[in-house]
């Protein structure tokens, strides 16, 4: 394992936080969350895990990359292919551990937030200032603020409506909209409110500097019209099925039951919203 250990030592001196395990004398497991070099607070990352066995570099390391954050799915697959290629093309059995880590870092730096959408408004991440949660999920700051505000309103409502002895017990845990990881920790409702205000202010400042940047082409009216046209055909097909089921008594008759229970789906006309900024 000499060749490997030498290289691992070098690796650890370059990269901070590499986790090294030796489950057996002839095996090393390396693990590191690699981040892109740009913009430290919102950098993209992946977790790289590498198993190096006796015989390295003749026997290539097994590399797994997981937990892609801040890079798109196609980009993540491309990174995977790049790593595979490095391993494949290493026919002269040169040490490649460091090279693989470096490749991941370079790739993340080049491709972070490319083709990534905000998980809340589904618009391009690069169109507006972003935040990253403690669980490394990315979204627009404004979208996240709006989410916090809605959560806050709900907690307040719940507390207001709770029985006096239950008020303390209302769960005011804010969770990540993507993975439900708790984002609360020591926060109280009062803190959130202050945080939201602060975040909105910062976002507005950042927004100004972003305005000059080129935006990715967005959905056009034409796209929408084309889409709608294709749907009409599908709708006609579904309408036939519906009529057939109705004839056979397979469709629930809400009217009949309405007097006993109050339930109906609101189907008002579409709300017209004119939006320039990606605030849903």
């Amino acid at each position: 394992m000499e060749a490997a250990d030498g290289e691992i030592e070098a690796l650890c001196s370059i990269w901070e936080g590499v986790h090294v395990e030796s489950p057996t004398p002839s095996e090393r497991i390396l693990k590191l969350k690699i981040k892109s070099l740009e913009d430290e607070t919102t950098s993209a990352s992946v977790v790289v895990e590498m198993i190096v066995k006796e015989g390295y570099p003749l026997i290539p390391p097994q590399v797994t990359i997981s937990n892609p954050r801040g890079i798109g799915e196609p980009e993540f697959h491309e990174l995977r292919r790049k790593i595979d290629r490095i391993i494949e093309e290493n026919s002269d059995e040169m040490p490649i551990i460091c090279e693989i880590f470096q490749e991941c870092s370079d790739y993340l730096t080049e491709n972070q937030h490319v083709n990534m959408d905000c998980s809340i408004c589904l618009l391009s991440l690069s169109s507006s200032p972003i935040i990253v949660t403690s669980c490394d999920h990315f979204m627009h700051s404004m979208c996240f603020c709006r989410y916090l505000t809605v959560c806050l309103e709900e907690f307040r409502k719940e507390i207001r409506e709770a029985q006096p002895y239950m008020k303390e017990k209302v769960d005011t845990n804010i969770v990540c909209p993507v993975c439900r990881e708790s984002l609360t920790e020591e926060n109280t409702i009062q803190n959130y409110n202050a945080n939201i205000q602060k975040m909105i202010k910062e976002t507005k400042q950042k927004q100004k500097t972003l305005r000059n940047k080129k935006r990715r082409a967005s959905t056009t009216t034409e796209d929408v019209q084309n889409t709608m046209k294709r749907w009409h055909e599908e709708q006609r097909r579904l309408a036939k099925i519906y009529e057939k089921q109705k004839e056979k008594g397979g469709i629930i008759d809400i009217e009949e039951d309405k007097k006993r229970r109050e339930f109906f789906i609101e189907t008002g006309t579409a709300v017209v919203e004119e939006e320039e900024d990606p605030v849903i």
Partner: protein, 151 residues
């Protein structure tokens, strides 16, 4: 009109068409792009296999901060769906998150058809039958599928 909808809704709608979920079809209404006509095919491994279930889905004004409203229109014998077609599913209520989409909601409903959960019932009589005599419940569900949910 459609162009003035929030872009998120337009984008979701387009993706639903470009990359449809197997066994699920969702189309916006011609006159109201927030109202979707949905069809879910009964999963093969369930008593609803061979069935074609029509649902309606509506995106409220607060969407995506509030969950879509979804209801079965085709009759279905299922412990978590009542006779008005209302669905008992956590993500449609307190577990809603704005990161969820029409697609994920419909996938969850499809999964609910494969895995009825009589422990968390909405239709108590159906759930009771499901718990005390599962074989009979499954038989009834198959019968309903055959009588009411054919394409």
């Amino acid at each position: 009109m459609a162009a003035q909808l929030p872009r998120r809704i337009i984008k979701e709608t387009q993706r639903l068409l470009a990359d449809p979920v197997p066994g699920i079809s969702a189309n916006p209404d011609e006159s109201n792009a927030r109202y979707f006509h949905v069809m879910i095919a009964g999963p093969d491994d369930s008593p609803f296999a061979g069935g074609c279930f029509k649902l309606e889905l509506f995106l409220p004004e607060e969407y995506p901060m509030a969950a879509p409203k979804v209801r079965f229109m085709t009759k279905i014998y299922h412990p978590n769906i009542d006779k008005l077609g209302r669905i008992c599913l956590d993500i449609l209520k307190d577990k809603w998150s704005p990161a969820l989409q029409i697609r994920t909601v419909l996938l969850s409903i499809q999964a609910l058809l494969s895995a009825p959960n009589p422990e968390d019932p909405l239709a108590t009589d159906v759930a009771e039958q499901w718990k005390t005599n599962e074989a009979e419940a499954i038989k009834t569900a198959k019968q309903w599928t055959l009588s009411y949910a054919q394409a």
